[in-house]
Symmetry: C2
Subunit: 216 residues, 2 copies
């Protein structure tokens, strides 16, 4: 299965490319913004597509033409300017979803925020609410399509080394999780069609990733 990773140059993206390339079933195509970012992916023998997520849907669709699945893990993050929150976290995600449709790529894995419900928008601190809202609308856009989607809602992301163990369910208590483990969860999700049409939260835990994802 060939997978277009949108946001490949991000921290989760880089782990993910590595895990995909190590997996016999999976093959990565890294979508990145600038040629200068390519060396990491070339070192991992991953194909590269240079596309600006703030550009046209058609450019993303072209990068998606020869893949079987798309992972959206791009993110302005909660601490950049709110203009990027709209243009990347919301509009970039929606354009990627539309590109998937155009390129007839059915499988779509979205890396969301831990809780993107209406209640989460309303109860978020004022500085964080716009990010939650942007992710909410991206998730809403995806679930309204007939794509084979999975939405992953990670807890607080850390740069700790991965443990390959998580707690994963539709609803879990808020907690932290290493980015490396989220990348593992994404790879396992791509390998498990039982995750299609599902959304789940993930934090650090005691269950091996494969087993946790299969249980969904």
């Amino acid at each position: 299965m060939k997978v277009l990773v949108v946001g490949a140059n991000g921290q989760i993206g880089k782990h993910l490319i590595k895990f995909i390339q190590e997996d016999d079933n999976l093959e990565a195509k890294a979508m990145i913004r600038k040629e200068e970012q390519a060396s990491y992916f070339q070192e991992h023998d991953a194909e590269v597509a240079i596309v600006d997520l703030e550009g046209e849907i058609e450019d993303i669709a072209k990068a998606a033409e020869d893949v079987d699945a798309i992972v959206f893990t791009a993110g302005s993050g909660p601490h950049t300017g709110k203009d990027k929150t709209i243009m990347i976290d919301l509009d970039g995600a929606v354009k990627t979803i539309e590109a998937a449709k155009q390129a007839n790529v059915k499988r779509f894995v979205m890396i969301s925020s831990f809780d993107t419900t209406r209640e989460a928008i309303q109860s978020a601190p004022e500085s964080f609410a716009p990010y939650v809202a942007a992710k909410h609308y991206a998730d809403e856009w995806l679930t309204a399509t007939d794509l084979d989607y999975t939405i992953i809602h990670p807890g607080g992301l850390t740069n700790n080394e991965g443990t390959n163990k998580v707690q994963l369910a539709e609803k879990v208590d808020r907690g932290e999780v290493p980015r490396e483990d989220i990348a593992k969860v994404i790879a396992a999700t791509l390998n498990n069609d039982s995750t299609i049409g599902k959304r789940f939260q993930v934090i650090g835990g005691n269950t091996p990733v494969e087993e946790a994802v299969q249980s969904i």
Copy 2:
């Protein structure tokens, strides 16, 4: 017809309240954020509802319980912080749409931006694109409902005195239009059910407002 005006304390909103109260068919309920804003509306004998658009859907729905139509003319404007662009122009609009559904108010008039198409997002200057995107998603959310909507796309808004004359069509050349004339267009839209399910652009022109709106 009783009309809840969301964003009544804005410049278009204030003109609109005046025109609604002068119209024998219409009756205004002004939704404003703070008690201190109430005097203008009381002077125009308009009912007032104090609701924060950044609050709960239920609060907006409660204000909408006894009305026949809702006009959304709230706006952070293109020059406020982009956090408010998400929380007011997009999320505030969506919450108002959801409140209309909850309160069983079918008629909904949205004041949008001149061009909220995908093409307009892509071609907008970087500082303006997030605003266009936010309005795009609000419009998309509305057109996906089964509400009796009209979306008004005004040209560049000025504070010039109204002329009661406009150019109005699905697509017109970009141009300016006084806020006072947009308020007249909104009132005429509320009085013309032929505008239901339609969206149109408005700039200054030579056709009397009533006639222009009836021609849609």
